[in-house]
């Protein structure tokens, strides 16, 4: 049996998205910047897509900018808010230790340019609090950026509460909603979100398309200079097939959100129960306040990459926060921020489901996984020491 359980990495394009995209490769092939009819047909498609995102996010179309993906949207959001802050002499940014690297590495670059960054600690349940944000905001804070849901452990952050804190303090609030968009309700008005990034390929849209929502009145700075596309804020001929597919996928995901969550949550909980029934394993992140399709657990005494390879050999595609999968010596910064020791973080497994997964696939994972964990433990000198009592069990 083949099971794709890595939907937090990327998803397959939905039929609705593909159907919407196909005409845009040949029939509707004009450049939206062209005056002629083929160009204007493409421009119409572009604006229809913009309206879909605006409607679903409770924004207005002019607040929607298309980018090449979530990372570009994150970069542009942070650089725009930082530039605006600098103009007012405010160069302090608040974020968290478990953001995506698109945020963390942009913040590192801003630090080199003279900004000061405070990264909030992650509580053991993987959910930061609005109080933490409130306590970190200073007179010179220009931006708070907290992800909507974590990409590794799936925990959902109290975005509306953080938005309220920021609005009251007069600080811009950005959220990286790449994992949340299409899976959790988002209302930028109600949640007091000033900037938001999302990526189409996380909800069955195509790769290479992102959206940056920016509240009216907040000026964007360019990352890419050139033509006047996207009101001059993002040069380059628009990726019409991608944008149209993204909008179709988002529309579909939002329309089916409740149904999908109701389907996925019991499957997720079944997986969590099965994984944590393996001795010396632990769930990463709060069991309830997490994305409907996210499961992330650590198994003591084994290393994640070998676990992934053996699962792959059984047809199961998953992911891990082990160092070996990243090419560095350190395991996932998310698991470390959560307080997992290095040796435990190396043995992590993320299974991320979508509504395309079938219940029998969950049974298959649970049938195969315990044996693989045991096989690797039997081979592991660390497990040997744990079992001999020469090394204390941590989990």
């Amino acid at each position: 049996m083949n099971v794709y359980a890595d939907n937090a990495a990327t998803t397959a394009v939905s039929q609705a998205a593909l159907d919407a995209m196909l005409p845009c490769f040949q029939d509707i092939a004009g450049n939206p910047s062209s005056l002629h009819s083929p160009g204007q047909r493409a421009a119409e498609k572009l604006e229809e897509a913009r309206e879909i995102f605006a409607r679903r996010l409770h924004a207005s179309p002019r607040e929607i900018t298309f980018t090449s993906g979530g990372s570009e949207a994150d970069n542009q959001a942070l650089r725009s808010a930082a530039a605006l802050g600098a103009r007012k002499g405010k160069k302090h940014i608040v974020s968290t230790k478990f953001e995506h690297h698109a945020i963390l590495h942009t913040l590192t670059a801003l630090e080199r340019e003279g900004y000061e960054v405070t990264l909030l600690d992650i509580p053991p349940d993987g959910v930061v609090t609005a109080q933490q944000v409130k306590d970190a905001i200073r007179e010179d804070t220009c931006l708070v950026t907290v992800m909507f849901a974590n990409n590794e452990i799936g925990t959902i952050q109290p975005i509306a509460e953080i938005g309220a804190v920021c609005r009251e303090a007069g600080v811009l609030f950005h959220t990286d909603a790449v994992q949340a968009a299409g899976h959790l309700p988002i209302d930028v008005e109600e949640m007091k979100i000033d900037l938001l990034s999302l990526s189409a390929h996380k909800f069955h849209g195509p790769k290479g398309v992102g959206v940056l929502y920016v509240r009216r009145g907040i000026p964007l700075v360019n990352l890419i200079y050139g033509g006047a596309q996207e009101r001059g804020k993002r040069a380059g001929t628009e990726n019409i097939p991608g944008i149209v597919g993204a909008a179709a996928a988002f529309d579909e995901a939002c329309a089916n959100m409740e149904k999908n969550a109701a389907y996925l949550t019991p499957l997720r909980d079944k997986l969590i129960a099965g994984l944590t029934a393996i001795p010396h394993s632990i769930l990463n992140g709060d069991a309830q306040r997490r994305l409907p399709g996210n499961v992330n657990a650590c198994f003591e005494g084994i290393e994640g990459e070998s676990l992934l390879l053996l699962l792959d050999a059984k047809g199961i595609a998953a992911s891990s926060g082990s160092a070996c999968t990243s090419g560095s010596l350190d395991p996932s910064h998310v698991l470390l921020a959560l307080g997992r020791p290095h040796e435990v973080a190396h043995g992590s497994l993320r299974l991320s489901l979508s509504e395309y997964n079938k219940p029998e696939e969950i049974d298959y994972i649970l049938e195969v996984l315990p044996g693989i964990v045991q096989y690797l433990r039997d081979m592991s000198p660390v497990w040997d020491e744990l079992e001999q009592g020469q090394r204390p069990h941590i989990i």
């Binding site: 290393e303 390879l309 050999a313 160092a323 070996c324 290095h342 081979m379 592991s380 000198p381 040997d384």
Partner: protein, 147 residues
């Protein structure tokens, strides 16, 4: 997965000489759980001929760590110690039809595990050896080996 050669996948999925050896003459352990790799190698030595008659390993680590351990045991089994000590990480990599660049350190660990096991055997039997047997101390930061 195209990440690894067929040989690596074979040694990872069907590791040779895996397991504990209760009556080992020498045990070498290198690496560090913090860094995500630990190899423990057990050798049985014939005192007359100074030949490695049996070898086993236990490894905590990624696919290539397990594969390099397995290959290293194959390459030294039945060989005189003097020959086992000549085993280079490069030979392990070549025998596996290559490793991705960022996985080369696994092959270094395999070479060092063999040396550590021989060193342990020498220590236990009062056999003198040179500085070439000073191996991995488990501190990845201080290792200084380019890998």
């Amino acid at each position: 997965m195209a990440l690894y050669s067929d040989k690596v996948m074979d040694h990872f999925q069907n590791p040779r000489n895996v397991g504990k050896m209760d009556d080992a003459d020498g045990i070498g352990e290198v690496g560090n759980a913090r860094c995500g790799d630990i190899m423990r190698m057990y050798i049985k030595v014939d005192p007359e001929s100074q030949t490695i008659t049996d070898v086993k390993f236990n490894t905590f680590g990624c696919g290539s760590a397990i594969a390099t351990s397995s290959m290293a045991t194959e390459l030294i089994k039945g060989k005189p110690i003097s020959q086992a000590l000549q085993l280079s990480n490069k030979a392990v990599v070549e025998a596996l039809d290559g490793l991705p660049a960022y996985k080369l350190h696994c092959s270094v660990l395999a070479e060092e595990a063999v040396k550590a096991a021989v060193k342990d055997y020498y220590d236990k039997n009062g056999i003198a050896y040179g500085p070439e047997l000073q191996s991995c101390d488990g501190d990845c930061e201080s290792c200084g080996v380019e890998h």
